[in-house]
Protein backbone atom coordinates (compact mmCIF):
# COMPACT_ATOMS: atom_id res chain seq x y z
CA UNK A 1 0.00 0.00 0.00
CA UNK A 2 2.96 2.34 0.41
CA UNK A 3 3.79 2.59 -3.29
CA UNK A 4 0.69 4.65 -4.25
CA UNK A 5 1.21 6.90 -1.23
CA UNK A 6 4.83 7.53 -2.19
CA UNK A 7 3.82 8.29 -5.75
CA UNK A 8 1.10 10.63 -4.54
CA UNK A 9 3.63 12.52 -2.43
CA UNK A 10 6.11 12.61 -5.30
CA UNK A 11 3.39 13.93 -7.61
CA UNK A 12 2.34 16.63 -5.16
CA UNK A 13 5.90 17.77 -4.48
CA UNK A 14 6.69 17.77 -8.20
CA UNK A 15 3.61 19.86 -8.86
CA UNK A 16 4.63 22.32 -6.16
CA UNK A 17 8.21 22.49 -7.35
CA UNK A 18 7.53 23.00 -11.05
CA UNK A 19 8.03 26.58 -11.89
CA UNK A 20 6.22 26.65 -15.22
CA UNK A 21 3.48 29.22 -15.48
CA UNK A 22 0.67 28.80 -17.95
CA UNK A 23 -1.56 31.55 -19.19
CA UNK A 24 -4.99 32.08 -17.69
CA UNK A 25 -6.90 30.63 -20.60
CA UNK A 26 -5.41 27.18 -19.94
CA UNK A 27 -6.25 27.07 -16.24
CA UNK A 28 -9.73 25.94 -17.28
CA UNK A 29 -8.26 22.81 -18.83
CA UNK A 30 -6.26 22.11 -15.73
CA UNK A 31 -9.23 22.35 -13.39
CA UNK A 32 -11.40 20.14 -15.59
CA UNK A 33 -8.58 17.60 -15.83
CA UNK A 34 -8.30 17.55 -12.05
CA UNK A 35 -12.02 17.01 -11.74
CA UNK A 36 -11.86 14.15 -14.21
CA UNK A 37 -8.97 12.58 -12.33
CA UNK A 38 -10.83 12.93 -9.04
CA UNK A 39 -13.91 11.36 -10.55
CA UNK A 40 -11.93 8.43 -11.90
CA UNK A 41 -10.21 7.92 -8.58
CA UNK A 42 -13.43 7.75 -6.62
CA UNK A 43 -14.92 5.58 -9.33
CA UNK A 44 -12.01 3.21 -8.90
CA UNK A 45 -12.45 3.13 -5.14
CA UNK A 46 -16.13 2.38 -5.54
CA UNK A 47 -15.39 -0.38 -8.05
CA UNK A 48 -12.86 -1.79 -5.62
CA UNK A 49 -15.48 -1.92 -2.90
CA UNK A 50 -17.95 -3.42 -5.36
CA UNK A 51 -15.25 -5.91 -6.24
CA UNK A 52 -15.72 -5.04 -9.90
CA UNK A 53 -12.40 -3.26 -10.17
CA UNK A 54 -10.62 -3.68 -13.46
CA UNK A 55 -7.25 -2.21 -14.23
CA UNK A 56 -7.96 -1.59 -17.89
CA UNK A 57 -11.27 0.10 -17.22
CA UNK A 58 -9.66 2.16 -14.49
CA UNK A 59 -6.68 3.39 -16.53
CA UNK A 60 -8.66 3.86 -19.74
CA UNK A 61 -11.37 5.69 -17.79
CA UNK A 62 -8.79 7.90 -16.20
CA UNK A 63 -7.16 8.86 -19.48
CA UNK A 64 -10.39 8.97 -21.47
CA UNK A 65 -12.23 11.12 -18.94
CA UNK A 66 -9.40 13.62 -18.77
CA UNK A 67 -9.08 13.68 -22.56
CA UNK A 68 -12.83 14.11 -23.07
CA UNK A 69 -13.07 16.88 -20.50
CA UNK A 70 -10.18 18.76 -22.07
CA UNK A 71 -11.62 18.26 -25.56
CA UNK A 72 -15.00 19.52 -24.42
CA UNK A 73 -13.45 22.60 -22.89
CA UNK A 74 -11.43 23.18 -26.03
CA UNK A 75 -14.50 23.01 -28.22
CA UNK A 76 -16.35 25.24 -25.80
CA UNK A 77 -13.63 27.84 -25.96
CA UNK A 78 -13.57 27.70 -29.75
CA UNK A 79 -17.35 28.01 -30.01
CA UNK A 80 -17.62 30.64 -27.33
CA UNK A 81 -19.89 28.45 -25.19
CA UNK A 82 -19.06 27.38 -21.67
CA UNK A 83 -19.14 23.70 -22.64
CA UNK A 84 -16.80 22.74 -19.85
CA UNK A 85 -19.70 23.30 -17.50
CA UNK A 86 -21.21 20.13 -18.93
CA UNK A 87 -18.11 18.20 -17.94
CA UNK A 88 -18.08 19.85 -14.53
CA UNK A 89 -21.71 19.01 -14.02
CA UNK A 90 -21.35 15.39 -15.15
CA UNK A 91 -18.23 14.76 -13.13
CA UNK A 92 -19.62 16.57 -10.11
CA UNK A 93 -22.79 14.46 -10.08
CA UNK A 94 -20.81 11.26 -10.53
CA UNK A 95 -18.39 12.30 -7.85
CA UNK A 96 -21.15 12.78 -5.31
CA UNK A 97 -22.82 9.53 -6.33
CA UNK A 98 -19.61 7.58 -6.01
CA UNK A 99 -18.79 9.12 -2.66
CA UNK A 100 -22.29 8.35 -1.42
CA UNK A 101 -21.99 4.74 -2.53
CA UNK A 102 -18.57 4.42 -0.95
CA UNK A 103 -19.88 5.81 2.33
CA UNK A 104 -22.83 3.49 2.32
CA UNK A 105 -20.67 0.48 1.58
CA UNK A 106 -18.22 1.33 4.32
CA UNK A 107 -20.98 1.81 6.87
CA UNK A 108 -22.69 -1.41 5.79
CA UNK A 109 -19.38 -3.22 5.98
CA UNK A 110 -18.86 -2.02 9.53
CA UNK A 111 -22.38 -2.96 10.52
CA UNK A 112 -21.99 -6.46 9.13
CA UNK A 113 -18.69 -6.79 10.92
CA UNK A 114 -20.41 -5.79 14.17
CA UNK A 115 -23.23 -8.23 13.56
CA UNK A 116 -20.72 -10.94 12.84
CA UNK A 117 -19.10 -10.27 16.18
Amino acid sequence: MWLPAIFLIIGISLGLLTDITISDQYSNYLSIAILAALDTLFGGIRAHLDRTFDQKIFVSGFLFNIGLAVLLTFIGVKLGIDLYLAAVFAFGVRLFQNIAIIRRRLILQKNTEKQDN
Binding site: I10, L16, I22, S27, L30, L41, V59
Partner: protein, 230 residues
Protein backbone atom coordinates in the same frame (compact mmCIF):
# COMPACT_ATOMS: atom_id res chain seq x y z
CA UNK B 1 1.69 -9.99 -9.27
CA UNK B 2 -1.84 -8.95 -9.89
CA UNK B 3 -1.90 -7.03 -6.67
CA UNK B 4 1.34 -5.31 -7.51
CA UNK B 5 0.08 -4.38 -10.96
CA UNK B 6 -2.97 -2.88 -9.40
CA UNK B 7 -0.78 -0.92 -7.06
CA UNK B 8 1.36 0.32 -9.91
CA UNK B 9 -1.67 1.55 -11.78
CA UNK B 10 -3.06 3.17 -8.66
CA UNK B 11 0.23 4.86 -7.89
CA UNK B 12 0.49 6.11 -11.47
CA UNK B 13 -2.99 7.61 -11.32
CA UNK B 14 -2.32 9.11 -7.91
CA UNK B 15 0.94 10.51 -9.15
CA UNK B 16 -0.75 12.25 -12.06
CA UNK B 17 -3.56 13.39 -9.83
CA UNK B 18 -1.21 14.74 -7.18
CA UNK B 19 0.85 16.51 -9.76
CA UNK B 20 -2.16 18.14 -11.39
CA UNK B 21 -3.72 19.08 -8.10
CA UNK B 22 -0.67 20.64 -6.54
CA UNK B 23 0.28 22.36 -9.77
CA UNK B 24 -3.15 23.88 -10.09
CA UNK B 25 -3.05 24.89 -6.44
CA UNK B 26 0.27 26.59 -6.94
CA UNK B 27 -0.93 28.46 -10.00
CA UNK B 28 -4.11 29.66 -8.35
CA UNK B 29 -2.08 30.75 -5.32
CA UNK B 30 0.16 32.82 -7.54
CA UNK B 31 -2.72 34.39 -9.39
CA UNK B 32 -4.87 34.89 -6.34
CA UNK B 33 -2.88 37.87 -5.14
CA UNK B 34 -3.47 39.72 -8.36
CA UNK B 35 -6.89 38.58 -9.39
CA UNK B 36 -8.77 38.33 -6.17
CA UNK B 37 -9.86 41.81 -5.26
CA UNK B 38 -13.04 42.75 -3.55
CA UNK B 39 -15.46 45.21 -5.02
CA UNK B 40 -14.43 47.84 -2.53
CA UNK B 41 -10.78 47.38 -3.34
CA UNK B 42 -11.56 47.66 -7.00
CA UNK B 43 -13.42 50.84 -6.40
CA UNK B 44 -10.60 52.20 -4.31
CA UNK B 45 -8.08 51.19 -6.90
CA UNK B 46 -10.14 52.81 -9.61
CA UNK B 47 -10.57 55.94 -7.53
CA UNK B 48 -6.85 56.26 -6.86
CA UNK B 49 -6.03 55.63 -10.46
CA UNK B 50 -8.49 58.30 -11.50
CA UNK B 51 -6.92 60.65 -9.00
CA UNK B 52 -3.47 59.85 -10.33
CA UNK B 53 -4.59 60.54 -13.87
CA UNK B 54 -6.15 63.81 -12.82
CA UNK B 55 -3.02 64.79 -10.95
CA UNK B 56 -0.87 63.96 -13.93
CA UNK B 57 -3.13 66.01 -16.14
CA UNK B 58 -2.94 68.85 -13.67
CA UNK B 59 0.83 68.51 -13.51
CA UNK B 60 1.04 68.61 -17.26
CA UNK B 61 -1.04 71.75 -17.43
CA UNK B 62 0.97 73.41 -14.69
CA UNK B 63 4.17 72.42 -16.43
CA UNK B 64 2.86 74.00 -19.61
CA UNK B 65 2.07 77.15 -17.66
CA UNK B 66 5.55 77.16 -16.19
CA UNK B 67 7.02 76.80 -19.65
CA UNK B 68 4.92 79.69 -20.88
CA UNK B 69 6.00 81.83 -17.97
CA UNK B 70 9.60 80.94 -18.62
CA UNK B 71 9.18 82.02 -22.21
CA UNK B 72 7.60 85.27 -21.08
CA UNK B 73 10.43 85.87 -18.65
CA UNK B 74 12.95 85.24 -21.38
CA UNK B 75 11.21 87.71 -23.64
CA UNK B 76 11.01 90.28 -20.87
CA UNK B 77 14.67 89.82 -20.10
CA UNK B 78 15.49 90.26 -23.75
CA UNK B 79 13.35 93.39 -23.83
CA UNK B 80 15.08 94.68 -20.70
CA UNK B 81 18.43 94.04 -22.33
CA UNK B 82 17.34 95.93 -25.41
CA UNK B 83 15.99 98.74 -23.28
CA UNK B 84 19.23 98.88 -21.38
CA UNK B 85 21.20 99.15 -24.58
CA UNK B 86 18.84 101.84 -25.81
CA UNK B 87 19.12 103.68 -22.52
CA UNK B 88 22.88 103.45 -22.73
CA UNK B 89 22.94 105.03 -26.17
CA UNK B 90 20.43 107.63 -25.04
CA UNK B 91 22.51 108.42 -21.97
CA UNK B 92 25.58 108.77 -24.12
CA UNK B 93 23.73 111.07 -26.45
CA UNK B 94 22.41 113.06 -23.53
CA UNK B 95 25.94 113.37 -22.17
CA UNK B 96 27.15 114.63 -25.51
CA UNK B 97 24.32 117.12 -25.72
CA UNK B 98 24.92 118.22 -22.15
CA UNK B 99 28.58 118.74 -22.98
CA UNK B 100 27.58 120.88 -25.93
CA UNK B 101 25.05 122.92 -23.99
CA UNK B 102 27.53 123.33 -21.18
CA UNK B 103 25.94 121.31 -18.45
CA UNK B 104 28.92 119.00 -18.35
CA UNK B 105 32.65 119.65 -18.63
CA UNK B 106 34.02 119.10 -22.10
CA UNK B 107 37.45 118.55 -23.47
CA UNK B 108 39.00 117.86 -26.82
CA UNK B 109 41.20 119.22 -29.52
CA UNK B 110 40.52 122.68 -30.86
CA UNK B 111 41.99 126.07 -31.53
CA UNK B 112 42.91 129.10 -29.55
CA UNK B 113 42.48 132.58 -30.94
CA UNK B 114 43.83 135.54 -29.08
CA UNK B 115 42.70 139.04 -29.96
CA UNK B 116 44.73 141.90 -28.76
CA UNK B 117 44.30 145.65 -29.00
CA UNK B 118 46.75 147.16 -31.38
CA UNK B 119 50.03 147.98 -29.71
CA UNK B 120 50.53 151.02 -31.79
CA UNK B 121 47.82 153.61 -31.87
CA UNK B 122 48.67 156.77 -33.85
CA UNK B 123 47.83 159.78 -31.73
CA UNK B 124 45.82 161.51 -34.41
CA UNK B 125 43.49 158.54 -34.86
CA UNK B 126 40.43 157.58 -32.85
CA UNK B 127 41.38 154.96 -30.31
CA UNK B 128 38.18 153.13 -31.05
CA UNK B 129 39.56 152.11 -34.40
CA UNK B 130 42.33 150.16 -32.75
CA UNK B 131 40.74 148.19 -29.98
CA UNK B 132 38.77 144.99 -29.92
CA UNK B 133 35.05 145.50 -29.91
CA UNK B 134 32.23 143.20 -29.00
CA UNK B 135 31.30 142.80 -32.65
CA UNK B 136 34.73 141.35 -33.36
CA UNK B 137 34.28 138.79 -30.68
CA UNK B 138 30.74 138.07 -31.87
CA UNK B 139 32.01 137.68 -35.39
CA UNK B 140 34.60 135.16 -34.28
CA UNK B 141 32.10 133.26 -32.20
CA UNK B 142 29.55 133.08 -35.01
CA UNK B 143 32.19 132.01 -37.46
CA UNK B 144 33.42 129.31 -35.11
CA UNK B 145 29.95 128.00 -34.51
CA UNK B 146 29.17 127.86 -38.19
CA UNK B 147 32.47 126.05 -38.73
CA UNK B 148 31.33 123.33 -36.37
CA UNK B 149 32.74 124.27 -33.02
CA UNK B 150 31.32 122.22 -30.19
CA UNK B 151 32.07 124.62 -27.41
CA UNK B 152 33.57 128.07 -27.12
CA UNK B 153 35.04 129.91 -24.19
CA UNK B 154 36.25 133.48 -23.82
CA UNK B 155 39.04 133.88 -21.33
CA UNK B 156 37.99 130.62 -19.79
CA UNK B 157 34.26 131.44 -19.58
CA UNK B 158 32.05 129.26 -21.65
CA UNK B 159 29.58 130.62 -24.10
CA UNK B 160 26.10 129.19 -23.79
CA UNK B 161 23.10 129.42 -26.01
CA UNK B 162 21.86 132.46 -24.11
CA UNK B 163 25.23 134.11 -23.60
CA UNK B 164 25.77 137.68 -24.64
CA UNK B 165 28.89 139.60 -25.40
CA UNK B 166 29.00 143.34 -25.35
CA UNK B 167 31.36 146.24 -24.94
CA UNK B 168 31.60 148.16 -21.73
CA UNK B 169 34.13 150.82 -22.51
CA UNK B 170 37.57 149.29 -22.76
CA UNK B 171 36.48 145.88 -21.49
CA UNK B 172 34.20 143.28 -22.89
CA UNK B 173 31.43 141.78 -20.84
CA UNK B 174 30.57 138.14 -21.26
CA UNK B 175 27.35 137.30 -19.45
CA UNK B 176 28.03 140.20 -17.13
CA UNK B 177 31.64 139.29 -16.36
CA UNK B 178 34.09 141.84 -17.60
CA UNK B 179 37.32 140.87 -19.24
CA UNK B 180 40.06 143.17 -20.44
CA UNK B 181 42.11 142.63 -23.54
CA UNK B 182 43.69 140.41 -24.67
CA UNK B 183 40.81 138.08 -25.30
CA UNK B 184 41.55 134.45 -25.62
CA UNK B 185 38.84 132.63 -27.49
CA UNK B 186 39.07 128.86 -27.22
CA UNK B 187 36.97 126.57 -29.35
CA UNK B 188 36.62 122.80 -29.29
CA UNK B 189 36.07 121.13 -32.63
CA UNK B 190 38.00 119.89 -35.60
CA UNK B 191 41.06 122.18 -35.45
CA UNK B 192 41.75 122.01 -39.14
CA UNK B 193 38.30 123.06 -40.29
CA UNK B 194 38.05 125.73 -37.62
CA UNK B 195 41.39 127.20 -38.59
CA UNK B 196 40.66 127.05 -42.28
CA UNK B 197 37.32 128.72 -41.92
CA UNK B 198 38.82 131.52 -39.88
CA UNK B 199 41.66 132.07 -42.28
CA UNK B 200 39.58 132.33 -45.43
CA UNK B 201 40.49 135.14 -47.76
CA UNK B 202 38.45 138.13 -46.64
CA UNK B 203 37.40 135.95 -43.78
CA UNK B 204 37.23 136.67 -40.11
CA UNK B 205 40.94 136.95 -39.48
CA UNK B 206 41.35 139.29 -42.44
CA UNK B 207 38.53 141.48 -41.17
CA UNK B 208 40.05 141.58 -37.72
CA UNK B 209 43.47 142.42 -39.08
CA UNK B 210 41.90 145.13 -41.19
CA UNK B 211 40.40 146.53 -38.01
CA UNK B 212 43.93 146.80 -36.59
CA UNK B 213 43.60 143.94 -34.18
CA UNK B 214 46.49 141.66 -33.42
CA UNK B 215 45.30 138.15 -34.07
CA UNK B 216 47.14 135.06 -33.00
CA UNK B 217 45.76 131.68 -34.04
CA UNK B 218 47.05 128.34 -32.81
CA UNK B 219 45.75 124.84 -32.79
CA UNK B 220 45.47 123.10 -29.46
CA UNK B 221 45.90 119.43 -28.83
CA UNK B 222 43.73 119.62 -25.78
CA UNK B 223 41.27 122.26 -24.63
CA UNK B 224 39.28 121.85 -21.44
CA UNK B 225 36.17 123.74 -20.39
CA UNK B 226 34.23 123.54 -17.16
CA UNK B 227 30.52 123.05 -16.84
CA UNK B 228 28.07 125.85 -16.23
CA UNK B 229 27.56 126.45 -12.57
CA UNK B 230 23.87 126.89 -12.02
Amino acid sequence: MKLRGRHVVLSLVLFVFGFLGSYSFQITKEHAQIVQMSEQEWEKDFFYRQQLIQMEEKNRKLQEKVDNYRKDINQLEQAFGDDEAKIKTLVNEKKKLQMITGELPIQGSGIKLSLKDSAYIPSEENVNQYIVHDRHVQLVINELYSAGAKAIAINGQRIYKDSFVNCVGPVISVDGNQYPAPFEIEAIGDPESLQTSLELTNGVVDILVNDNIEVKLETMERVQMDAKIS
